[in-house]
């Protein structure tokens, strides 16, 4: 039983790590500020959730698992707030969204 | 983490090395950056990496302090300071060779100093021979505080901690007084400075 649990948790955590890497690749690769934000939200949601789920399977039913659940809730409540305020600040400072025909430049005053 | 097996130690050392390399990259980025907002952001990243290294080295309480002070408070304070000054760093007038030399020599001396220290987490090191075992074994019964770090800080060294708290409190008041904006008194202060100079 515990071996199966171990394998499932390894698979979940590795998948989470893969999604984190994909998100990071997206942050590096995407053109323009807003498109990069979409890539970063993959890390915040799927990557973080899968890793925390994997750790939850490891910890079993203890105080640590309660803390992990709180950690997950924290990510889910706070990451959209942070992203929205980031996007809002960029928008109000006049960062233009990238468009396919406009070329790779999306920089503006900072 | 003395209880771990060999593989855990290798894993931890590898992680620490990678994180320290990233910290080096972040530090070079900070040094080359002219935009001070960028510097603040990279400084926050540096602190997050530093705190992670400290956790890997098993210094949980120091990591907590680093995260709170480095990534939390100082980001906010530096932004407040930038608001009062300006957003870009001016180019230095002459090449900073002398400061670089001083920093390099100091760093080399510090590294040389660490050569004389006992190895990391060596159980025979002097620091693990004198008071540390006493704190660990007798601390909980003598002070009634379940956490050893809290026992040391709040009971064995409580006057020390009290003094520290005063210092931090005073520093906080000083920073708030300096960074506070929209106070009606500020224009007058400027006037006085102008008249003096």
């Amino acid at each position: 039983m515990s071996a199966v649990l171990d394998i499932v948790s390894i698979v979940l955590m590795t998948l989470g790590g893969v999604f984190c890497v994909i998100g990071a690749i997206g942050v590096l690769r995407m053109p323009g500020f807003y498109t990069r934000m979409h890539a970063a939200s993959v890390i915040d949601t799927l990557g973080a959730s899968l890793i925390i789920l994997g750790l939850l399977l490891q910890s079993g039913f203890t105080l640590a698992s309660a803390k992990l659940v709180i950690l997950w809730l924290l990510i889910f409540f706070c990451s959209p707030t942070a992203s929205h305020s980031l996007a809002n600040a960029a928008y109000s400072r006049g960062v233009k969204p990238w468009e396919p025909d406009q070329g790779a430049s999306s920089s503006s005053k900072n | 983490m003395g209880t771990g097996s060999r593989s855990v130690i290798i894993l931890e050392e590898l992680t620490a090395v990678v994180l320290l390399t990233l910290m080096g990259a972040a530090a070079i980025g900070i040094a080359r950056q002219r935009n001070l907002f960028g510097v603040v952001m990279l400084g926050g990243i540096y602190s997050f990496l530093m705190a992670t290294v400290l956790v890997v080295l098993d210094a949980v309480d120091v990591a907590m302090t680093e995260a709170a002070v480095g990534a939390g408070i100082s980001t906010v304070l530096l932004l407040g300071a930038i608001h009062l000054t300006g957003g870009t760093e001016s180019k230095p007038i002459h090449r900073p060779w002398l400061p670089l030399f001083v920093v390099a020599v100091t760093g080399a001396m510090l590294v040389y100093g660490t050569l004389g220290l006992p190895a990391f987490s060596d159980p025979k090191a002097p620091i693990h021979q004198h008071v540390a075992p006493r704190y660990l074994t007798e601390g909980p019964e003598k002070t009634g505080v379940p956490n050893v770090v809290t026992a040391v800080l709040a009971s064995y060294r409580s006057f020390d901690t009290l003094g520290e708290t005063f210092v931090v409190f005073t520093a906080g008041i000083g920073v708030i007084a300096l960074l506070r904006r929209r106070t009606p008194r500020r224009p007058r202060e400027h006037d006085q400075e102008d008249r003096k100079s």
Binding site: Y34, L46, L63 | P146
Partner: protein, 160 residues
């Protein structure tokens, strides 16, 4: 109402304290309870305890909304991941305005945060009863404009 709220805040803080400390001896638990009461007392003196920071009334409605939202997040995260690793990066970023049918500010926040939490769409600004959304692809924008999420959030607001 505010008194009831303060008490519930004390209890949540105390629960959080228990969670972090993990000590269950009577003396330490009393200290923890006292510190939570002190924090709420300070907060009330500073006038920062309010309904919005502690939305108890949304409890029941949200429970039905979350599973749907999580499934939605996983689906769109998968879509965005496929876009990222695609060699040609086939994105078509669009800005669009979405109508909000929620009445209360908390409902609007839930909707805007759900949009942001779903990878591929980000709420950029809120104007009157519209949200300015940046979408990574035209398809994602059309999905959102369909208004399925909006209806569900409004339903969960009504149920509570």
């Amino acid at each position: 109402m505010l008194r009831f709220h303060s008490i519930s805040v004390v209890f949540s803080l105390f629960a959080f304290w228990l969670l972090l400390s993990g000590y269950f001896t009577p003396f330490l638990m009393t200290l923890g309870l006292l510190s939570s009461v002190a924090v709420v007392w300070f907060a009330r003196r500073m006038d920062v305890v309010d309904q919005e920071g502690h939305p108890l009334h949304l409890g029941r409605g949200v429970m039905g909304y979350w599973p749907w939202l999580i499934v939605e997040i996983v689906k769109s995260a998968w879509t965005v991941s496929k876009l990222i690793v695609h060699p040609h990066l086939p994105i078509s970023p669009t800005m669009l305005r979405v109508k909000m049918s929620q009445q209360s500010p908390v409902g609007q926040v839930v909707y805007a945060n759900s949009i942001t939490l779903t990878p591929g769409t980000i709420s950029v600004a809120i104007e009157e009863d519209e949200i300015l959304v940046h979408a990574l692809t035209r398809a994602g924008a059309d999905d959102l404009a369909g208004g399925d999420m909006d209806r569900r959030v409004t339903a969960c607001e009504a149920r509570s």
